[in-house]
Each structure stands twice: as C-alpha cells, then as structure tokens.
Amino acid sequence: MKVINLYQEEKELIELAVENNRHAQQKIYSRFAPKMLSVCRQYIKDLHQAEDIMITAFMKVFTNMKNFEHKGSFEGWIRRIMVNECISFIRAEKKVKFIEDEKYIEESFNNIESQFSVEDIQFLIDSLPEGYKMVFNLYCIEGFKHQEIAAMLGINEGTSKSQLSHARKMLQDNISKLKNYDNGTE
C-alpha cells in the first residue's frame, strides 16, 4: 500500500512539476539531489563543479519533464540525465582522447575480501585518468554494456573494453598500494 502511495505521490508531483509548480519542483529536487550529487561526484572530483553539473542537469530534468514516460523509474531517468551531463562536461572540458587500442587482457580481479569505506572507494576512482574513470563508472557502477558505453562516448566497443581492463588493472594496483599503506601504519 505504501509503495503504491509513494508512486502515486511521485506521479502527482511530476504532473505538478510539468506545469512549472515550483513547490513540486522543489520537492523533487530535495528528494533526489543528495543521491544525484553523489552520482556527479563519481565522475567529477571537484565537489563544487559536481554541484554545478547537478544543477544544470536538474534544469534539463525540469525542462524535459513532459517527455518523461512513466515506463521506467523516475530516479533512473534523472540519474541517466545526470550521467549524460557529467560525460558531456568531461568530454567538453577535459578533451579526453581515447586511445583506440583493441588489445585488452582478460584478467580477473584477485578477489580481495577486504571492506572499503565510501571515501576510499571515491579516492580510488578519483585516482583513475578521466577516460578510464568514465568507462569504469559506466560499466561497473551504472551497469551499462560496452555497446552502450561505446555509443555514449563515441568510441569503438573494443576501445571501451580495453579502457575497462586498463582501469581495472590500475585500480588493483592502487588497492594493493592502499592496503600496503594501511598495513604499514597498523
């Protein structure tokens, strides 16, 4: 019952927000902003810049609200807009060039059982180069397929795969470094 109520409430809120009801827009914003800022922060290291991107993405959310068909989840739709905004920002600002190499090593992670704090995870992701970071985020966190990532970034599917393998390799190295550092201090 509660879920249905929430869904109904969300639908009503969306309908109001489409009509530029500022109160409804604020409700939607305050419900999703913290999560969406977290998403933006995944891609953009600077928190202020991440917030700017989140605001412009929310602008797009509200201006394109009438195009939202109630098929998927509303949160997923917003999240997709956020991710697209982040990617287009990074590609415009940082001018990331993907090296078109089709070679990638099918190498699995050592299944490290250790637990990481969110800050550590963010630190590890931040330490990746922009290209690796985007592909890693899109593949491992957002759950896109290589085909989708290739289309989003305008690269070959093979490049996406090789970028991911490079990212994983680098992450593993960084994790071992972090662990050694932790062990050293203990």
Binding site: S38, E51, T63
Partner: protein
Amino acid sequence: MEPNKIEKQFREKLNTREIQPSAQAWDRLDAMLSVAEEKKTKRPFGFLFIAASILVLLTVGMFLFTQKSTTIEPQNNVVGTEVKKDTVENSTNNNQTPIIKKAVQTEAVAAAEVQQTTNNNQRVSINNQKSPNNQKTSINQNQIINEKVIQNQKQEVIAQNVTPKLDDKKEILIKKDINVKSDEVLLADLEKTSKQTSNQKSNVKVDAKSLLSQVDGEVEYTFRERVLNKMNKNYKEIKVALANRNNE
C-alpha cells in the same frame, strides 16, 4: 568478464551514498527555472506585440501618406501665385521709370526717418548733383580709354614699319605681338563698353535695389534683426561672462 566482489561492493556503497548539496544550490536552480519560465511566458506576448506594432505602424503610415497628398496641393498653389506676383512686379520695375522715381522718394523718406535733420529737397538735389558728376567721370574715363587705344594703334603702326627690315622669324614674333596688341585693344574696348554700361546701369539699379531692400527691411527685417541683434547681444554677454569667469 563479470563484475567481481570488489566492484559489487563499490557499486552498493556508492549507490547508497548521499552528498548533501549546498543551500545555495536550490536558490540557483530556482532562479534558473524562473528565468526559463519568463522566457516561455513572454514568447506569445512577444508575437502579439510584434503584430500590434506592425499594425500600428501600417495605420500611421497610411494616415501620413493620405495627409501628405492633401497638404502638398495647396502648397503648390501658393507658390504659383507668388511667382506670378513677382513677375508682375519685376516687369513694372524694368519697364517704367516712374516707379523708380517713387522709390527715390521713398528712399528720401527713409533717409528722412533715419536722419531727421536733413531736408527732403536737399537730399534730392544732392542726388541729382551726384549723378552728373558720375556721368562726367565716366566721360573722362572714356576719353582716357580712347587715348590709350590711339596709343596702341600708334605702336602697331611703328611695329608694322619695323617689320620689313627684320627676318621672317621676327616677323612671326611681331605678328604674335600684334595679335596680342589687338587682343589688348579688344580688351580695352570691352572694358570701355562694360564701364559705360556699368556706369549707366549702376546708377539706376543700385538705387532700386537699395531702396527695395530698405523698404522691405523696414517691413520684414525689423523682427528678424531684432531677434538676431538680441541673439548677438546675448552671445556676446555669454562670451564676456565666460571670459571673466576664466580670468577669475
């Protein structure tokens, strides 16, 4: 290659993470939204305004065009009548001398107004006396010019006498001189005629013009002159005041 445990942990932890945006973030978004709203709401009004302004301009333009056509016609008529009047006046001035005499009288009157001490008869007599003098001087000038012409002719005769003694080349040169001299003679003749005509005509014309201008000036220029004089006075006063201020 499936995401492994570490990546699962990454995803779960990152997806549950929440970062509270700054307080200003909503204000900024709110401002952006209201700007976007204004743009959207203004658009239909903008179209209406454009349409209305075009209509207004068209109507005003039409109104002005129709008005112009009516106003131009009377202006043409006025100009036509004025031209006719002028021509009539000119013809009378050119043909008839009595009007000039009248003008002389009016000039005398004007002079009387300016200088009240002199009498009308004296004025006229002075004018009469002056005109013979002018004629005399013109006659003298004519005599002088005639003498000059005679001199030139003498020189030519001398030159012609000299020519047979000299070479052909020199003859040509002298011929040129003769030509030049004949030109000089022509010029002298022209001067003579022009002086005669100018003396004769100026006596009449200058009087008429000055008289007309004086008569007209009393009627028309009084207001203009007053305004101009006032303007000049004020300008000078301002000049003086500025100069004084600058000196101080």
